[in-house]
């Protein structure tokens, strides 16, 4: 499914997991269960040896997945197997894409049902070649903006992104945190343009998810906490969390007009 179609039903809950953690075989079923629990978009992380944008939780997941045999070939098999009706989005580092070749990678995405890509170490300045490749295969290339992104640049990023704009809730790396910062609210408010805005990095509770939606976001992205529950084998608790967060997001969304992406 295209990302834009999903945002018709905004506000959304976007859920990140690390492909291959705990094993490649477990991933397709996990994706299905998360979709069933209410995830509107699945971000499927491709583990990298050097995930500089990630905190300890996701780093550890990546190491486990690599040790369990995850690689780019397996990733696309797993992604294809995870046949869900919601959009699947690739999340991973540029070198993994570069190593496979940009066109081949974008093509593999399309073939395995992935309709968007998030590449946390690829700012728009360096993204020209991948934008071209993505365009060929009708895959959205989603850019990130952060609280310290200045206004002019924010405008540029908003213009360049496709699918949605990924707002990083705070400076620093991925990982659960205890509250939503004023700077996050400010960032949401500062974004120009009309593309959907999803807020990630540090959201781990229904209340936080509701808060960012209430602040004007079109989606809340939850990641580290999911990875953490998977690591502990508590998939049912994860499903419950997703259900709760989804409910919170929907409730928070009631007070706003829906945005058509």
């Amino acid at each position: 499914m295209k990302i834009s179609e999903a945002f018709i039903a905004a506000p959304l809950l976007i859920v990140y997991i690390c492909a291959g953690d705990p094993t490649p075989a477990a991933t397709p079923d996990l994706v299905r269960r998360l979709a069933a629990a209410g995830a509107d978009i699945i971000e499927l992380g491709l583990p990298h040896s050097d995930p500089i944008a990630d905190g300890p939780t996701i780093q550890a997941a990546a190491q486990r997945a690599i040790a369990a045999g995850m690689n780019t070939d397996v990733y696309f098999q797993v992604a294809a197997e995870a046949d869900v009706a919601i959009p699947k989005v690739f999340m991973g580092y540029y070198n993994m894409i570069y190593a496979r070749g940009l066109d081949r990678f974008a093509g593999d995405c399309a073939r395995s049902g992935i309709t968007g890509m998030i590449v946390p170490d690829l700012p728009p300045e360096e993204a020209g070649p991948l934008q071209e490749a993505c365009a060929k295969f009708d895959v959205d290339l989603i850019f990130l903006a952060a609280p310290n992104t200045p206004a002019e640049r924010l405008k540029m990023i908003e213009k360049e992104t496709s699918g949605f704009l990924y707002l990083v809730a705070r400076t620093g790396v991925t990982g659960a945190q205890s509250d939503i910062l004023q700077s996050t609210r400010d960032l949401i408010a500062r974004v120009p343009g009309s593309k959907p805005k999803a807020v990630g990095f540090g959201i781990s509770t229904p209340a936080q998810a509701a808060e960012v939606i209430a602040a004007g976001a079109d989606a809340a992205i939850v990641g580290s906490v999911c990875v953490d529950l998977i690591a502990r084998g508590e998939v049912e608790r994860l499903e419950q969390l997703i259900r709760d967060m989804k409910a919170a997001v929907k409730a928070a969304g009631k007070s706003k007009a829906p945005i058509v992406g």
Binding site: H48, S49, D50, P51, I52, A53, D54, G55, P56, Q59, Q63, I66, N71, T72, D73, Y93, Y94, N95, M96, I97, Y98, A99, R100, P120, D121, L122, P123, P124, E125, E126, F143, L144, A145, A146, N148, T149, P150, E152, R153, K155, M156, I157, E160, V168, R170, T171, G172, V173
Partner: protein
Amino acid sequence: MHSLISDTSAVKFGRYGGLFVPETLVPPLAELAKAYQRLMKCEDFKEELNLALKTFAGRPTPLYYARNLSQKLGRKVYLKREDLVHGGAHKLNNTLGQALVAKKMGKTRLIAETGAGQHGVATAIVGANLGFETQVYMGEVDIERQKMNVYRMQLMGAEVIPVRSGSRTLKDAINEAMRDWASSFDHTHYLLGTAAGAHPFPSMVRDFQSVIGKEARSQILQAEGRLPDSITACVGGGSNAMGIFAPFLEDEDVRLLAVEAGGRGLGKTDRIADHGASLGLGTDGVLHGALTKILQDPYGQILESYSVAAGLDYPGVGPELAFLAEKGRVLTKIADDKTAMRGFHALSKLEGIIPALESAHAVGYALQEPEALGDLAIINISGRGDKDLATVMDYENL
């Protein structure tokens, strides 16, 4: 496209270099690039830096005519004596420059990565001297094998933070420092230790290190009345090599020899390369913010590297060197552990100079292929070997 990086021409070296970093790091890198460019045009700043280089770091370092080594190699060999720089290596040229930039930018804290500890020590030195709070990320494995350098950093008031992620060595220490910086940039400067990483680091580190080459150029002209036929330098990330090469780039007749770590052989397994020769044996890829030559598996996972010299034990290399090597301006050479050990012993015995194991790679290469040096050669002795004594003892007891 509106970019924060104004001087985009400087960002890339051919297709290499760039700014492959999380969005959070783009503004601080841009701020750094701007401040740096402004300061390098500022006479007061340059004067302050030069005074520090002179009275604190001990510059200029000599260009020493190595009589005995020359005799052995059958040609004139001069040594550029970065082993005499305060702290024991060329690293301080860069940390002094960057710390002064950071000071002018109003930063109060320095973070750095370190492998063997040399860059960490050089950072601790400037941190103490210029009144920064200093924290140095260092892999747990490296902390274990470099206890004395850890202690040196602590003596100078720096905190050494053990890195437990990944291979728990230099590469992961860089990752950790970048993660720290992503949330601390407003009061913290990330003091990267080599001419690698995202823009503006490769250019900035090269510029701060090029004092080596500038001095060497005028010293050799004074001593010999002509430019050398070759300059040999070891390559980890590339800072001492770029530092001595840069002022000679236009002198097409000066052969620039970049010697990488051949480690215990040129093979590799799934996760680990037996060497550190990313320039010679690596492939294009992105590591630590730049497109460059790296050691990686077919999927793009970074390999752990290996060298007996901790400072050359890095799976990437600076992008400008990747560019210059591809253009053929810099020639890529490899010296393995054994060759480096030969260089280490030879220079100690012949000249009474115990080189760093890193620098010993350059000397070892010269012993192995003296003809490549031409009639008049400069070898960059990037550091002294005191830090390596225990390593050499261990190596030779094997």
